[in-house]
Symmetry: C2
Subunit: 123 residues, 2 copies
DNA sequence: GACATATGTCCATTATTCTAGAAATATGGA
DNA sequence: TCCATATTTCTAGAATAATGGACATATGTC
């Protein structure tokens, strides 16, 4: 993920309605949820929500597919992983957070040194 | 980190100048860098940069301390770790990213399953 | 104290984003 | 075809954010 993409994703997440939508979609997993259900659950007018869903879709945060009369939205988990990777690699220091590939599992392993503050280099 | 705090941090990171400032500060580590150096490095007028640094400071993303005539800004690495933790816990699914404490090292370990997509539950 | 340096504050302008009413589009069913 | 449902698009006003010139403040040096 480059810096321009990251800005777009941060922007999409920096608004209450949108962040709530996203977290709700995360709860719905890969199955997703229809726009109307989100509108109702979050108590946001359908046209306002549509504006935000469109915003999120442009940012790549969500995908949508029609199913009958409904349009089902799903969270983009891949993007979320990329974003986490960006924060670790580009917005943190190796002293505080590091990322590496685990060959065996094929997973990326991130270590957050939240309990072991680095010794300050005395200048 | 709660959702309100997350929105504030995302907002602070969702603007090009601010994200560039933050990444530059990350490179400067715990030592930080003076406002003027940032202004010069990023080619942003000092007053405009001051506006953004103030924005970032309010969000808790950076800290500042005076040193002679300069004001030294430093990235808040703790907040960055909290943000990464928030994304993993609240904005991702356990199938895609999980976080656990490693008793021995005292670190939080995050596993990003970026190479092992979960088997879809056939409905 | 006079001056240069480093940074912040004030202000007006411009640009962008959010909101929700009204109308439009798409789908499915009687 | 007619109607209800689900959602989006259009639109305009309101709110918020970004920009940079001019000025103010704080610090260090001579």
């Amino acid at each position: 993920m480059d810096i321009q993409k990251a800005i777009i994703v941060f922007d999409a997440l920096s608004q209450e309605t949108r962040l709530r939508v996203f977290r709700l979609l995360v709860e719905h997993g890969t199955q997703g949820a229809p726009a109307g259900k989100l509108s109702e659950a979050l108590d946001v007018p359908h046209n306002t929500l549509s504006f935000h869903l469109n915003h999120m879709s442009n940012a790549g945060l969500v995908a949508s597919k029609r199913e009958g009369r409904s349009i089902i939205y799903t969270a983009n988990f891949d993007l979320m992983r990329d974003l986490i990777g960006f924060l670790v690699k580009d917005c943190c220091s190796v002293e505080f957070a590091s990322i590496r590939k685990d060959k065996k599992s094929g997973c990326s392993i991130i270590e957050l040194a939240d309990c072991c503050p680095p010794k300050e280099k005395k200048a």
